[in-house]
């Protein structure tokens, strides 16, 4: 995350990206492989760029690319240096200006796109509950972390629930004092897919068997507003996850395993608007000790137990708030 902040720490980079370009952010891991027109288009761009043809040490194509809608690369770079970012954007704009004059002269610029049938259709739950997640280590009484990016690490993600699942979070009858456990599927998704230690990386989904305890209750605190349409809820629960992860370390060519866990207390409040059929406020905290490590969470030097916090809040209405959850294409995400 520090790298992201650094690359965009120059206001001129933000201004250029916002005003002179159509800015797009997307996960290139699937784009590098997906067999559809969008994947083909990304590969057309990437194979003109800074990592063209690269296979070692990885085949990643991550970085920054400026290009035309017909697939002509204008500039590309993979750098966190804001000055290099600014320089790259200016280079792209100069080349764009030259190309635009040429295209105007010969009329070769396309006006419409071909039909696109996505290999992986969006799973966005229209009208559903869209939450933004933030994860960060909580303060420690004794802190042995190195004083580098690992000490200030934090991360973002999103969680998606259908409109039906959101409605089912509100207890019946809709009266103060009513309480219920959240639907099993909602608790299961929170636990397996969203109570991961993703502060420093991208750990895999907890297996079902890792859920040792999982409870989350909603209770109506107040029913207010015109026609008593606003229902204010308290959320309270606990989730305990433990698993012995096993993986093959390709660099060392050896099988490895490591235990890890998260013992989270959950607290929150939310407001359901009956007239909209949607939550208009949602705040939930999962906090408690995490321990151990795994293949992709970069905790080998920080086995704990040490406190972790994950905050769930209502996402906004910007296009960026449709960013998919990291694990959205897991076959169990919306149920088994």
């Amino acid at each position: 995350m520090a790298g992201r902040a650094q690359a965009f720490s120059d206001p001129e980079v933000i201004r250029l990206a916002s005003e002179q370009f159509i800015p797009v952010a997307e996960n290139c891991s699937p784009l590098q492989r997906q067999r559809d027109a969008k994947g083909d288009f990304f590969r057309l761009i990437a194979e003109q760029g800074h990592y063209a043809g690269r296979t070692f040490p990885t085949d990643t194509r991550q970085g920054y690319y400026a290009f035309t809608a017909d697939g002509t690369l204008l500039a590309a770079r993979n750098s966190r240096d804001p000055r290099q970012m600014e320089e790259m954007l200016h280079t792209a704009l100069r080349r764009w200006s030259v190309l635009a004059d040429t295209d105007d002269a010969d009329g070769s610029a396309p006006e419409t796109l071909p039909d696109y049938a996505p290999a992986r259709p969006s799973r966005y739950p229209e009208g559903g509950l869209i939450l933004q997640l933030a994860a960060r280590d909580l303060p420690r009484a004794v802190d042995t972390r190195k004083d580098d990016w690992r000490k200030s690490a934090w991360n973002l993600d999103y969680a998606w629930f259908s409109a039906e699942e959101a409605r089912a979070i509100v207890p019946q009858p809709r009266l103060p004092g009513s309480r219920q456990q959240l639907p099993r599927e909602v608790i299961r998704r929170l636990a397996r897919f969203h109570l991961r230690d993703f502060v420093r990386g991208e750990p895999p989904v907890w297996p079902e068997e890792a859920i040792r305890d999982a409870e989350l209750e909603s209770a109506i605190l107040e029913v207010a507003g015109d026609e008593r349409r606003l229902v204010r809820l308290a959320l309270h629960g606990a989730v305990r996850l433990e698993w012995d992860w096993r993986w093959h370390d390709r660099q060392r060519d050896e099988d490895r395993h490591a235990e890890s866990g998260f013992d989270a207390a959950l607290y929150g409040e939310a407001t359901w608007d009956e007239s909209r059929g949607a939550f208009i406020a949602f705040e939930l905290l999962a906090a408690g000790p995490r321990w151990g490590t795994g293949q992709y969470n970069n905790r080998a030097d920080d086995l704990g137990p040490a406190p972790l916090g994950i905050a769930f809040t209502l996402a906004g209405d910007e296009p960026r708030d449709r960013t998919p959850p990291h694990t959205i294409y897991h076959p169990d995400y919306f149920g088994r």
Partner: protein, 69 residues
Amino acid sequence: MIETTAVPDSIADMPTFRDFIAYVRPKPDEIRWLDVPWQTDLWEGRRLALQEGKPIFLWAMNGNPLGCT
């Protein structure tokens, strides 16, 4: 089994869950890149680029740049 407690003493001075949420959520300096009006789909970005007559600026990462990476 490792013995644990739900909320460690070192954070006991944060009295409510909202204080914890404020601590965990990114601060404005940490998310300046969210000031850019990002599209989240390359194909939609390509369509907008044609419509508005602009080049595309793509931020591609292994993991979503706007989410978990």
